[in-house]
Amino acid sequence: MSKPKRIIELNPHGIALLSGDEAIALAALHCGVTLGTGYPGTPSTEILETFADLGGNAQWAPNEKVAAEVALGVAFASGRTLLTMKHVGLNVAADVLFTAAYSGVTGGYVLVCADDPGMASSQNEQDTRRYAVAAGVPMLEPSDSQEAYDFTGLAFEISERWQIPVILRVTTRVCHSHSSVHPHRKFTEPLKPGFVRNIPERVMVPAHARPAHRRLRKKLAEIEEWNVENGPNWTIPGSENLGLIASGVAAMHALEAAPEAALLKLGMTHPLPMKLIRDFAANYKRCVAIEEGDPYLNDALRAAGIALEPRLESYRFGELNVNRVRHLLAGGEEPQTTPPRGKPPQLCEGCPHRSTFSVLKELDCIVAGDIGCYTLAAMPPLQAMDTQICMGASIGVGLGMRHTLPEEQARRVVSVIGDSTFLHSGVTGLIEMAYNTPATGHVVIIVDNGITAMTGLQEHPGTGRALDHSRAGRVVPEEIARALGIPNVQVFNPVKELDRFKQELQCALESGMLSVFVARQPCILAFGKIKAYEKAIAETAGDCACAQPVAE
């Protein structure tokens, strides 16, 4: 634990007003988490930042899969670990989760996964509840900041009691809404870290994994039983005409939209407490599940033979609110309303990405794009990006187009990827480029603004600074490209050296030489902060005779 930068003040009643993200961080601190790790992603980013500010030990990993592996090592060593990511990050980390469910853990392993129904800041609205079922891990769903705090502690308790990873599924409105939290600190004590050899449960070769899968299913059966008897679920009695079943923030909308109805509010939604739900549903003439996203409760409950009113397909899309729940309960088609849209976001005035993309537009490039602020270049007036799918996809997609398009078009294809995104999952794409080189060659442009800008200016391995902005190792993208044998690797300032950048790009496209261009200029929002961080590092190094300067 380092010295806290922030202390959460409580009012005279022992209560603080916290966001869901802050509440999770505070609970992690009170649970004695050894290490928090993850990759930034809205709306989950503030969890680890707050945890670090409160004095917790937290770090950003290059991507969610690595974070999930580091976290697993912590839990194998009997430490408690808090792993955070947004919903799409779990696609990257899924490989770890599915087999960690088999191996089990010793120390508490809590994966906080933040879904974004309505896609306030995401490329899809996938539903993490499906992952809990697919991987076979328990899942808790808080509905406000108090539950975010309570359920984080409960997740560690469940994880250690059944030696299993636990998902804490949150959504944008839980992460970013503020509400009262009474931080009671009533959590179980962490274990003492230490190595215990257990090859049959830690080495998942088929001979070990077969019994491990049976153990997992047995654990889930026990957890379901516990969830029925003692799970974090509660009932509000109401009219015999209407019984509602809900979890997460949807339960709050439901309570407000139908105060006369009875409500079964589920805190643990995998494994579902089916007996509890069945007993509840039997009491009401009409029973409706209120949920955002996929019809997870609807499908599971109806498959179990519970007489649930079917949900209209329109409620699969977007986030719920009180008005939509009222419509849902009134029945009939949902009225199509367009919420106020206002002004869409755009690349900042003075953003270095603007010059880079203006060149790509001028040269009529076919641009395979990626995830970050620069995706805004796809919008008018630039409209200089042609594809965007997921983290790191720009390079693979660009290569696939090069392999397939008629030569004249293939020669215009470039892949554009940000610095943090490149280190997250672009490196393997670059290996593919060096290995399966298209006949027309290829050009990758790394738009390096020196920070993870989109999610709110987080550090990454390329910045040379840790999550708390102290000195860390530094990974240099152009050195990776050179090490892979890419013949034409150049670094430009996209603002000051625009002409040279344009000439070299034209030349690379025509020659077909494999090229990696790094367009390096700090994010305009981060510029002052980066200077301040570096100044602070230099001052600290001055105080400490053993500190070594980091080579450029």
Binding site: L17, A120, R173, M252, H253, L255, V322, R341, G456
Partner: protein, 159 residues
Amino acid sequence: MEAINIKIAGLGGMGVLSASHVLAETLFLAGYDVKKAEVHGMSQRGGSVASDIRFGTRILSPMIPVGEVDFLLALAPEWVDLHRAELRPTGRLLTPDSVAGLANSRSLNVALLGALSRFLLIPETVWHAALAKAFPEKLHASNLAAFQLGREGKGPHLQ
């Protein structure tokens, strides 16, 4: 008591989020159950930002239902039309016109909180405490002045 709902709307960088933070903190310090909902993420890229603040005895949904906004604080005139439909028939609109005579437009968010404070039964000292907590010391004097300007209602008659 029934929930009272306040929406603050504007553009990223106008101070929507800091105003909603001060307001929520004030209501919390005054002893109410408070919920505040806002969508972060794209707000730094110059897009629209809106924040919902609800307070009362017990608040359920963190988001204000459409048509139930009691006070709409619009930091620029274009956000009035965008959110007008969300106001209750009896809802009040507070715009830059409500705080005419403001010396520094960067304090508009705080001045609008001053204008709002006339309608909420919260001791002035609580507002001052929340403002002092939320901003660096060098801004305290100018914030206090902007808050007073809004609170004293020197601007045109409120709509």
